[in-house]
């Protein structure tokens, strides 16, 4: 497949606007500006694009809600927090193809009549910050940003806003609070950001990869786009693959490519030709799958049928030598560190799970510990404002479901 999101990245100068324009960059913007804003939204609807941030929400549906809201100004936010462990798929867009993101945001802003945009970028990507700032400056220079975009009287201003190391700020309402200069804690929904978001105005939050798809949809048309990959959630998808494979990295493949194909065809199989033990298919919050469950098509609709989720498409591969109880402990330490402290079940429960897992890892586990872990996890699930606590509970439940023997063997000796 020809690359659509990572096109040009072999060019060492791909972040430069002139290089981007050479491969018909910003042509989609000019095309969109000739259309009615509502027609742009319709085109995205036809494409079937679903958000790439993790939840897979249909993009055009979100946009329609925001565009129906009569309040102004409207804000457009790019979620570049990329905090889900295992996920590094947005980074090549940010660092190597920033103009495709910027072009996608300008088209979206035009479709939604949003005059101000922010790229909420994780603080851990200082390099991407410099590249984006430079790219935005170039886009202003060419008249693609500003008060009169391409002489069409369209106004859109875009800035980079750096986060400061808090995973929870990837959750869109926490992100908005953070952007407002507050502690990043999730808000209760409704109201949804599309009606009351940044500074209580209609706010559209989309992931980096979601925006990067927009110029491509405008280029080939929604109908053509809808034919790529899985029919129910089409398009190209970025998979970031890490762990025990021969060639880890970011792969652009059609949505619905199976996990097996990703691991064995594209990533060359397991490192040192060891045996596969398990895979986390969509970032640390998604349920782990044992080696015999990897024939699943990687898309938002299919994965739940195979007992997991697509999430951010962050594939983490573990070979036969991996101590999965230790992996589970490290994952739960992460959630404990990142819990924002707002909801008691998450703030307290995740810490308890960490303590129990720690003693199991130290061979001090008690016979009741596995049941105890499951019980705590069940008291977290569904009892919190945002899905961070659910993520931690999911990790514990699925590691135990598929690899109970490993936990038991540490307890019984």
């Amino acid at each position: 497949m020809k690359r659509a999101l990572l096109r040009n990245i072999d060019n060492t100068n791909s972040a430069d606007i002139n290089e981007y324009i050479k491969i018909s960059g910003y042509a989609s913007l000019l095309k969109a500006l000739e259309m009615k804003p509502s027609d742009v939204i319709d085109e995205v609807k036809t494409s079937g694009l679903r958000g790439r941030g993790g939840a897979g929400f249909p993009t055009a549906t979100k946009w329609a809600f925001a565009s129906m809201d009569p309040k102004f100004p409207k804000y457009l936010i790019c979620n570049a927090d990329e905090g889900e462990p295992g996920t590094f798929k947005d980074r090549p867009i940010l660092e190597k193809n920033p103009h495709q993101l910027i072009e996608g945001m300008i088209i979206s802003a035009y479709a939604l009549s949003a005059e101000y945009g922010y790229i909420y970028l994780r603080g851990e990507y200082p390099n991407a910050c410099n590249i984006l700032n430079n790219a935005i400056k170039q886009a202003y220079g060419k008249g693609y940003l500003g008060d009169n975009i391409s002489g069409k009287g369209v106004r859109f201003h875009l800035h980079v806003h750096q986060g400061a190391g808090a995973y929870i700020c990837g959750e869109e309402t926490a992100l908005i609070d953070s952007l407002e200069g507050k502690r990043g804690q999730p808000r209760i929904k409704p109201p949804f950001p599309v009606n009351e978001g940044f500074l209580s105005r209609p706010t559209i939050v989309n992931n980096v990869e979601t925006f990067a798809n927009i110029p491509y949809i405008m280029e080939i048309g929604g109908e053509q786009y809808a034919k790529i990959g899985s029919p129910q959630c089409p398009g190209p998808k970025l998979f970031s693959v890490s762990g025990h494979v021969k060639t880890p990295g970011v792969y652009e493949l059609p949505m619905g490519t199976t996990l097996r194909e990703i691991i064995y065809t594209h990533c060359g199989g397991i490192k040192d030709d060891k045996k596969l033990k398990a895979v986390i298919p969509g970032g640390i919050s998604t349920p782990i799958l044992p080696a015999d469950k990897i024939d699943c098509p990687m898309d938002f609709v299919s994965m739940p049928r195979y007992g997991s989720m697509l999430g951010s498409g962050a594939v983490m591969v573990f070979d036969e030598s991996t101590d999965l109880v230790k992996v589970c402990l490290r994952a739960i330490k992460f959630f404990e560190h990142e819990s924002c402290g707002k909801c008691t079940p998450c703030r307290e429960g995740v810490g308890w799970m960490r303590a129990i897992l720690k003693r199991i890892c130290d061979y001090n586990g008690r016979e009741t510990d596995i049941e105890h872990l499951l019980e705590v996890s069940e008291n977290i699930s569904g009892n919190t404002f945002c899905p961070l606590g659910d993520g931690a509970a999911t990790v514990v439940q699925n590691f135990i479901k598929h690899f109970r023997g490993e936990f038991e063997s540490k307890i019984k000796i």
Binding site: G181, I284, R330
Partner: protein, 155 residues
Amino acid sequence: MNKTDGLIRDIRAIKEKYQSKRAALLPALYLAQREFGWLSPEALEFVAEALDVPKASIKGTATFYAMFKNKPVGRHLIQLCTNVACMIMGAERLVDLLRDKYGIEPNGTSADGRFSLVIMECIGACDTAPAMLINEDFYDNLNKENIIDILENYK
């Protein structure tokens, strides 16, 4: 010119990007941290005045975020990832090495004030794990040998 004159000017410039002065807080805190080295009471006071937001409320925000420092740090800040992908590629051995060779504990500073170490939660370099940032410089594919060579460049 007072060293903080430039800082005031920069914070004012940032305020222009937002329709709310409070929204300029995170970028302002970054600038103040760069100028003062950490978010000392003096630095927070300064930001509170520049943005006209109560200091207590600013402190509430500043203490929420891992990358804002509420105590002084060494001359160079090592931010080493030990999350799952880095862990299975040996990041914990690097933490041990930093302790043994340089006397740096996680969240601590070496006695000579040269290095501080912070354990990070995934810095998005899982395909070239283990990885770290030193100040704003990024390093990956680390092992016990090359990490020492890298650190020698930071005096």
